[in-house]
């Protein structure tokens, strides 16, 4: 079974990668399996300087999901270049750098610095709901999104995948704005903004009050958005949100994703990425696919009619 996928800057042996923020910089997972198995690795967000993130508690459980408000804690782009990328470079796995910032200047400067490294692509995080200064606006306003993408493209030749926020009324116009600005791909979706309140303390459980909702709970929203964007915009999509099984991966591929990222499921099962990569060929075969490429966008192919019937 051919599981290869070719995307701008990314020559993937399989379409499965850990999602940003759910895998750190890979070290902890390397004790569970060889990271060479992965299609790619998406690193935790990089910002200009060190960030200490939000007050704790930073996570809360929800039905089929979780909230997080880490607040982009990271050692800063220089720290990542000095200590984390060298570790990941010991694997033959493409590295995707998640780029974040509070201002356009910060995005640009982080991207510039990372361009000097071996990272294969950027995931431009314009959608982190946990940063107060501006992250949210970039992700919900097409003009701001277009601008930041353009500025980053101007300073770097590294392919840019823009990570979209689902907290918008019209995901297609966000995607179109990114395409117009020269994005090479999209990454969908980041978390939905949510909250939980503890009846005992009468307070939001998360110190930051709101947090980002991830997990299977949001999968239908992600699938819908990817389906809509796939029809409107000619950019490859890295799909994510609640993936836990091979069937989930296939659902994403059918909706229009060319590759997928797995986030919070890594917390349930640190081996999940490797296990799903191992199961993928079998899973594709079961539904009659001949390769990963064969499945991409399949739900839009009106000419296909299933040969598998009930009873």
């Amino acid at each position: 079974m051919n599981t290869r996928v070719e995307l701008p800057g990314l020559n993937l042996k399989n379409p499965v990668m850990p999602a940003s923020g759910c895998f750190g910089f890979g070290r902890e997972f390397a004790q569970f399996y060889d990271l060479s198995h992965l299609g790619a690795v998406i690193m935790k967000a990089a910002t200009g300087g060190k960030r200490f993130g939000n007050v704790t508690p930073r996570v809360a459980e929800t039905s089929s999901g979780m909230l997080n408000a880490i607040g982009l804690q990271n050692p800063g782009v220089e720290g990542i270049i000095a200590k984390e990328i060298p570790f990941l470079e010991t694997y033959p796995t493409p590295i995707i750098a998640n780029v974040a910032g509070s201002t356009v200047e910060e995005y640009v400067s982080v991207a510039e610095k990372l361009s000097e490294t071996s990272v294969s692509a950027f995931e431009l995080n314009i959608s982190c709901p946990n940063v107060k200064e501006g992250g949210v606006q970039f992700g919900t306003d097409p003009f701001l999104a277009e601008n930041v993408v353009r500025e980053v493209k101007d300073v770097s030749d590294v392919p840019v995948y823009v990570k979209l926020s689902p907290n918008v009324a019209d995901i297609v116009s966000m995607a179109e704005a990114c395409a117009k600005a020269g994005a090479d791909g999209l990454s969908m979706i980041n978390t939905l903004t949510g909250m939980r309140i503890d009846p005992k303390t009468r307070r939001p459980i998360i110190a930051n009050k709101t947090g980002g909702l991830s997990g299977p709970a949001i999968k239908p929203v992600a699938i819908r958005m990817i389906y809509q964007v796939y029809e409107a915009v000619d950019l490859p999509i890295i799909g994510m949100g609640g993936i836990e099984t091979v069937d989930d991966i296939i659902e994403y591929l059918l909706a229009g994703a060319s590759a997928v990222a797995i986030g919070s499921a890594n917390f349930k099962n640190p081996l999940v990425c490797k296990e799903l990569i191992d199961q993928l060929p079998e899973g594709l075969k079961k539904y009659g696919f001949e390769s990963v490429n064969d499945a991409i966008g399949g739900a839009h192919d009106e000419t296909y009619s299933s040969s598998i019937s009930r009873s």
Binding site: R58, N68, S264
Partner: protein, 254 residues
């Protein structure tokens, strides 16, 4: 080495009000390095996040670990439904515990509050094995909440406090500390943050270790959910992998 394992429930019993002892069999037991480590327990597919629970005892011969947990919410409540013979998804052992091998202690004081008591049990056993003299102070809300008091008595002298005086001294663990602190050389404490803050203040001139709690995501150091501020350049520690055991002056209790 951490691993993910389906461990078999050997025994599951109620040991105090809403407090259960769970003995699990599996390979994880072979990899516990020191007291104070924890396992990250998946209650069932219905609960998205794992629950961190301290290792309260290890029996390497039978390849079992003992957990003691209190029903605090949905997950621990669901856990009570598991029966001997069932299998349970465990990730562990995780974290850094009490640095048993580097310790130079003769007279140890264990200070546990409520469901912070469990890791101190395994610690006490290990200390006693090393020939250390162990004194324990265990604080509970009421008599009904008290557990493992007899087990600590096997390790040395035990002082119990309860908020309502229904067992031992009425009040908090800190009430009995002034009388004890001159007689010991190292303290080890685990319990709710309010208690740890009070213990830290009371014991400021004695070397010691505290074990702290925070809500966790991954439990292995990757997600930055469980950080606590630190007093140094790095600015933080991850409780799940740098801790949960720290020197009191290493971290700033929230």
């Amino acid at each position: 080495m951490m691993q993910r394992e389906w461990m078999r429930i050997v025994k599951h019993t109620e040991v105090a009000r809403d407090t259960y002892q769970l003995i699990l069999n599996g390979d994880v037991a072979q990899h516990v390095r020191e007291p104070g480590q924890f396992v990250h327990v998946q209650v069932s597919q219905e609960y998205f996040l794992r629950r961190p629970v301290s290792i309260a005892d290890v029996n390497q011969d039978e390849s079992t670990i003992t957990l003691l947990y209190k029903v605090m919410g949905k997950g621990t409540n669901a856990l009570t439904g598991k029966k001997a013979g069932d299998f349970i998804d465990v990730l562990g052992p995780g974290g850094k515990g009490f640095p048993l091998h580097d310790l130079n202690t003769q007279q140890a004081l264990l200070i546990g509050g409520g469901i912070g008591v469990p890791p101190l049990h395994y610690l006490g056993k290990k200390l006693k094995e090393k020939g250390v003299q162990v004194t324990s102070v265990l604080g509970f809300q009421t008599k009904e909440d008290a557990f493992y008091v007899e087990k600590f008595k096997e390790l040395g002298k035990v002082f119990v406090t309860t908020n309502d005086g229904s067992l031992g001294t009425k009040g908090f663990v800190t009430n009995v500390l002034p009388d004890l602190k001159d007689r010991i050389d190292t303290f080890f404490s685990c319990g709710p943050t309010v208690m740890l803050r009070a213990v830290k203040e009371e014991m400021c001139d004695v070397p010691g270790y505290i074990s702290i709690e925070e809500r966790m995501g991954c439990g292995i150091g990757a997600c930055f959910a469980c950080v606590v501020e630190s007093n140094d350049d790095q600015g933080y520690r991850k409780i799940c992998c740098d801790g949960p055991v720290f020197r009191p002056d290493e971290v700033i209790l929230p």
